[in-house]
């Protein structure tokens, strides 16, 4: 049978089937917006849609749907309606100028799924980027076609023009007249008027050529222009030429768009002599750099830096004024924008290529330290942090100064880690760096610094620790006092004795007093001994809790001193009037006797 599709009045059963199909289409589309494509719900809807649609096509060969603003129709009958313009499926097609959708026999589930994926993809794009007609046109679905007449495009272009004119305050034509600006008017009467006189032309050559062609002609053979003519008879492509073209096309497809764009930008930078344009191009490069970081493509920023460095090297000898902005670019590469982009990347996608990220950091060298520091602080994963520390080590810093500069209150974890690194060194330099932490707001960090300083056997460390004796936090002051060692600076002893003698000292807690006074004892200096002795032997007319406390501290101090004279004073103390003093001295002596270093008495210095 030779099929001649004729107008058929709609069969109500058919209309009903189409209604079901459109509803199934809309439901599947809705499901795909919520769930991923392989979700059971989507698969169920898709299966239902495919069955209905394919069954219909098996019987009828084709399904043609008319599209209005909010309605799908079949043979003039509405089969689906949705007037909520944001979600409406008919509107989704209608807004891009589609007037008809065709489904043909031969359609399979996979193609229906592809179609729905297109809808999903386009509906997620911003309005000015989405176009379902473009998407379907590029996809070239075999058995799903559409009709979107050019009138839509024409109206769009004319509307855009009118919009621009309005913005510019220019007069614009009414819509019915605007289309007439592209009307074609040709005076065809000229086609039949006049004569063309070619008597001036030399025709001999042409006539000879025609005779030659006739002579060369064979049945079914090719006519050729005589030799001497730059002719097209050589224009058939050889296999090699076809291969060349295919190879050009293949190479065009193989090159990565990122690489292509970078090469292009570098060339533009190389070519541009005007300073402001040069900077504008660099700004584009920087934006691109940040974009790639935001997408986690660290390889591309690596390439950017290499290329900019290369160009800078090249220009620095020939064109230093252009090399300078390139240098600035390389410095800015680790600026705020970059840091924010990287943080965002790691936040959105923890599975980012970490190897490439560290390669990128290494390429930046010292410049990347603040960035690495921020990243360390932002991501507490132990493995990741180890890698950051590995990066720090890879920089082969002569001392830890640059690292210490990274420490601040907003990076508590890193700051503590840096203190730990300094602690590993335990030398004068480390002590010097630890001084930085005196001014930190974060108590935990200061405490870590105090502990670290306490482990360094160096006068500098003690000097810094002495600074912590004035810390606002009592725990820190106590710890500092406990960690203090005496390295021969008697002025420190005298200063502390002065502090102890001040009235303000009385306000301190017992623990703190003890800690400070114990240091005096540990110093084992004569001046400290005399002070402690006098403190112990202090008496007054009236009992005083404060005086008692100080005397008890003195006992503790003498105990820490543990020299022969100190022990002697403590022995005398066991006979003092105040019972508490007597007890304290006795207990101190007992402790000293049972301590392993009891035999190691040193004479007072």
């Amino acid at each position: 049978m030779n099929m001649d599709p004729e107008e058929i009045s709609p069969d109500p059963k058919q209309v009903e089937k189409v209604r079901e199909i459109m509803l199934a289409l809309a439901n599947t589309n809705s499901a795909m917006k919520i769930f991923p494509a392989n979700h059971a719900t989507v698969q169920n809807f898709l299966g239902d849609l495919a069955k209905k649609l394919i069954d219909f096509l098996d019987t009828n060969g084709k399904l043609e749907i008319d599209i209005d603003e909010f309605v799908f129709s079949f043979m003039g009958k509405p089969v689906y309606k949705d007037e909520l313009s944001i979600k409406s499926l008919p509107f989704f097609f209608f807004k891009d100028g589609m007037q008809k959708l065709f489904f043909y026999d031969g359609l399979e589930k996979e193609e229906i799924s592809d179609f729905l994926s297109l809808i999903k993809r386009e509906s997620h794009k911003p309005l000015e980027e989405a176009d379902i007609v473009t998407a379907m046109w590029e996809k070239e679905l075999t058995n799903i076609q559409y009709y979107a007449p050019d009138e839509f495009l024409e109206n769009k272009i004319l509307e855009e023009r009118a919009e621009r004119q309005m913005k510019a305050g220019q007069p614009s034509l009414p819509p019915e007249l605007a289309a007439k600006v592209i009307d074609i008017k040709v005076d065809t009467s000229q086609f039949s008027t006049g004569k063309i006189d070619i008597s001036g032309e030399s025709l001999e050559e042409g006539e000879e050529m025609v005779l030659e062609m006739a002579r060369q002609e064979e049945p079914g053979g090719r006519e050729t222009l005589p030799k001497g003519e730059a002719s097209v008879h050589d224009a058939t492509l050889s296999d090699r030429e076809v291969e060349t073209i295919n190879s050009l096309i293949h190479d065009n497809r193989a090159i990565s768009p990122e690489e292509e764009f970078l090469n292009l930008l570098v060339e533009l930078l190389y070519l541009e002599k005007d300073a402001s344009r040069f900077q504008a191009n660099l700004d584009v490069m920087m934006d691109y750099h940040v974009d790639q970081l935001q997408n986690g493509n660290f390889q591309v920023p690596i390439v950017i830096i290499h290329k900019v460095q290369e160009l800078r090297e090249f220009l620095s000898g020939r064109n230093p004024e252009r090399a300078e902005p390139l240098e600035d670019f390389l410095k800015k590469v680790t600026g705020e924008k970059t840091t924010a982009a990287i943080k965002e990347t790691f936040k959105k996608n923890p599975a980012v290529d970490v190897t490439a990220f560290f390669e990128y950091l290494r390429l930046l060298g010292d410049q990347a330290l603040p960035l690495a520091a921020d990243i360390y602080e932002a991501y507490p994963l132990p493995e990741f942090r180890l890698k950051v520390l590995g990066f720090f080590k890879s920089l082969d810093l002569k001392d830890l100064g640059p690292l210490v500069n990274l420490a601040n209150d907003s990076r508590p974890d890193l700051s503590k880690e840096i203190i730990r690194l300094l602690d590993e060194g335990r030398d004068r330099k480390a002590a010097h760096h630890l001084a930085v932490f005196l001014s930190f707001q974060n108590k935990d960090i200061r405490l870590e610094a105090v502990h670290a300083l306490g482990r360094i056997d160096d006068e500098m460390a003690d000097k810094i620790l002495a600074g912590f004796l004035k810390d606002l936090d009592e725990e820190l002051r106590i710890q500092a006092a406990l960690k203090l060692k005496y390295h021969g600076d008697e002025s420190r002893i005298l200063a502390i004795i002065q502090d102890v003698s001040n009235k303000s000292f009385r306000k301190k807690s017992l623990t703190e007093k003890q800690a400070i006074i114990n240091f005096l004892g540990r110093s084992r200096t004569d001046v400290a001994f005399r002070f402690l002795k006098s403190l112990l032997e202090r008496r007054g007319f009236l009992p005083s809790a404060r005086r008692l406390e100080m005397r008890l501290c003195a006992v503790s101090g003498l105990e820490s001193m543990a020299t022969t004279p100190a022990i002697e004073v403590l022995r005398r103390g066991t006979a003092f009037h105040r019972a508490k003093i007597r007890e304290a001295c006795s207990e101190a002596l007992i402790r000293m006797a049972s301590a392993p270093e009891a035999a190691g008495h040193e004479e007072a210095k």
Binding site: M1, N2, M3, D4, P5, G61, D105, G106, E108, E128, E129, A130, D131, V133, T134, E138, T142, Q145, D150, I157, L158, E160, R161, A168, I182, V186, D187, T188, Q190, F191, K195, I196, D197, I198, E201, R222, E223, L225, A230, S231, V232, H233, A235, T236, L237, E241, V242, I245, N246, L248, I249, D251, N252, E260, F261, N263, L264, L271, E272, V284
Partner: protein
């Protein structure tokens, strides 16, 4: 013929890559066979040995498919050919065949031709002769051929008529409007760029699609429109011509649709940099001095920079920026600008280079003493193959335009003057295009018919008309573009 027989799509093989490749090969092979048999059937009778031999090969191919799938069918839909439900992709080497078969279907108002299991060789030959000799003479040609097939008792060939809505053959009017719309749109783009306003690239993309669709449906007429030259708005007109011809060339080369849209946009914007060139330099009637030359040679770089500075540049095809920068590069690595590191221009740049040059030298400009005819332009370009242009791309372009490109004014051996209106896709008839007669044999101007120079006098078996020489339309005051636009009225 069994009137109740229905053509089905046939069962599809599983769609893995290997199967798809095999289907593609079978489809192309059958298409080539069909093409050969159709052509021979126009010339010979059923008992001719050559026809018999070729028809047997076609028959064997069809039978191999029908054994497995029950039918072997070609369907035409929106400028594409499908075989048993799978799109047949054409490549450079089989483009002419593809175009020929599409044309044959369209002429007869047929959307599908299916061969069913049970077909015999004798039935096939009878059908092919009947089909080949029946060309569209009236609006009801499908009914005529369907009737003849029925009467001939050809039961195993099923023809399907084009549904009116499927006939997306764009009338010339639509194509012409599209041409001017493109100029309009580009003017708006330039205006918006001047004012630093946002561009609506979606519209530009849709325009490229539409151009592609029109090229698919009406390629010759599109070429004809590129004869339109607006001297006042040269850059705009030129950019649109370059866009259309680039898409046509890219299509011939085998680029995908997505690539063709990108190519079209690249060609559309390739001269954007000229917005920065002072108009006095662009329109200077005499030779440019060194300084002026330096200024004008900045336009590729300026164009590329303009594009990357666009707010929407991320949605612009990257290659558009390449083309803006590279369209004055030469194949021998000379030209301008001079790159720092990059070695070869982009493929799209090479394509646009060819088309840009062609359109430029065939356009009258105030500074140009000599305007080349299209045929002269192609000859000149062929001389520069390998130095200025990529040889392979140029060859395809030359092939595409034909020995006598559409729009060429020609003098015929009958004394008539005509304008080439269509090329002949068969390379055998490269020198015998279709020509619209614009004078009679005495040189009097007429609004004549379009004649096929491949037509022969059946009595003498000699060609009725042959081109003696191309003419310069400027010399004879012939505005070629008007004859094409007249079709659109």
């Amino acid at each position: 013929m069994n009137e109740n027989a229905e053509s089905t799509a046939g069962t599809k093989a599983p769609r893995n890559q290997k199967d798809l490749k095999a289907i593609q090969k079978t489809a192309v092979d059958l298409l080539i066979r069909l093409h050969i048999v159709l052509k021979i059937s126009k010339l010979y009778e059923a008992n001719n040995d050559i026809l018999q031999e070729q028809a047997k090969q076609l028959f064997d191919g069809i039978e191999a498919v029908t054994i497995g799938e029950g039918e072997a069918g070609f369907k035409v839909r929106q400028g594409a050919i499908f075989f048993n439900g799978y799109r047949v992709k054409f490549v450079l080497s089989n483009y002419a065949i593809f175009k020929f078969v599409l044309g044959e279907f369209r002429k007869r108002g047929i959307s599908a031709m299916s061969f069913l299991s049970g077909l015999t060789l004798e039935e096939l030959i009878r059908f092919m002769i009947l089909f080949a000799k029946r060309e569209k003479k009236a609006t009801t040609s499908f009914e005529e051929i369907a009737g003849e097939v029925r009467e001939a008792g050809i039961d195993h060939v099923v023809l399907t008529k084009f549904h009116p809505d499927e006939t997306f053959v764009s009338p010339e009017k639509n194509t012409s409007r599209l041409f001017f719309l493109s100029i309009f749109h580009l003017k708006e783009v330039f205006e918006k760029d001047r004012r630093d306003e946002k561009l609506k690239l979606n519209t530009t993309r849709r325009l490229m699609q539409s151009i592609f669709n029109h090229i698919t449906d009406n390629e010759s007429f599109v070429y004809g429109l590129t004869n339109i030259k607006n001297y006042d708005e040269y850059t705009l007109n030129h950019s649109v011509n370059v866009c259309m011809l680039s898409i046509a060339l890219g299509r011939r080369l085998g680029l995908t649709r997505g690539e063709l849209v990108d190519l079209g946009m690249a060609a559309f914007f390739h001269d954007l940099g000229k917005l920065e060139t002072p108009i006095e330099i662009l329109n200077k009637p005499s030779r440019l001095n060194d300084e002026e030359r330096e200024i004008i040679e900045l336009h590729p770089c300026q164009g590329a920079e303009k594009l990357i500075q666009l707010k929407e540049f991320k949605r612009l095809p990257l290659r558009a920026i390449h083309v803006a920068l590279e369209h004055h590069f030469k194949e021998d690595d000379t030209g301008y600008p001079c790159y720092f590191k990059k070695e070869t221009p982009n493929l799209f740049s090479k394509i646009v280079k060819v088309v840009d040059y062609f359109d430029a030298i065939t356009t009258k400009r105030i500074y140009r003493k000599k305007v080349f005819t299209r045929a002269e332009a192609l000859s000149l370009m062929l001389e520069r193959s390998g130095t200025e242009f990529n040889p392979s791309i140029l060859k395809v372009f030359v092939n595409m335009m034909g020995a006598y490109p559409i729009g060429t004014l020609v003098y015929l051996n009958t004394g008539e003057v005509g304008i080439v209106f269509d090329t002949n896709p068969d390379t055998q008839y490269l020198l015998r295009p279709k020509v619209k007669l614009i004078t009679d044999t005495q040189g009097n101007k007429v609004d004549g018919e379009v004649v096929d120079l491949a037509d022969k006098d059946p009595r003498t078996d000699k060609y009725l008309r042959t081109i003696l020489k191309p003419l310069d339309p400027e010399k004879y005051g012939v505005k070629v573009s008007d004859y094409f636009l007249a079709q659109a009225q």
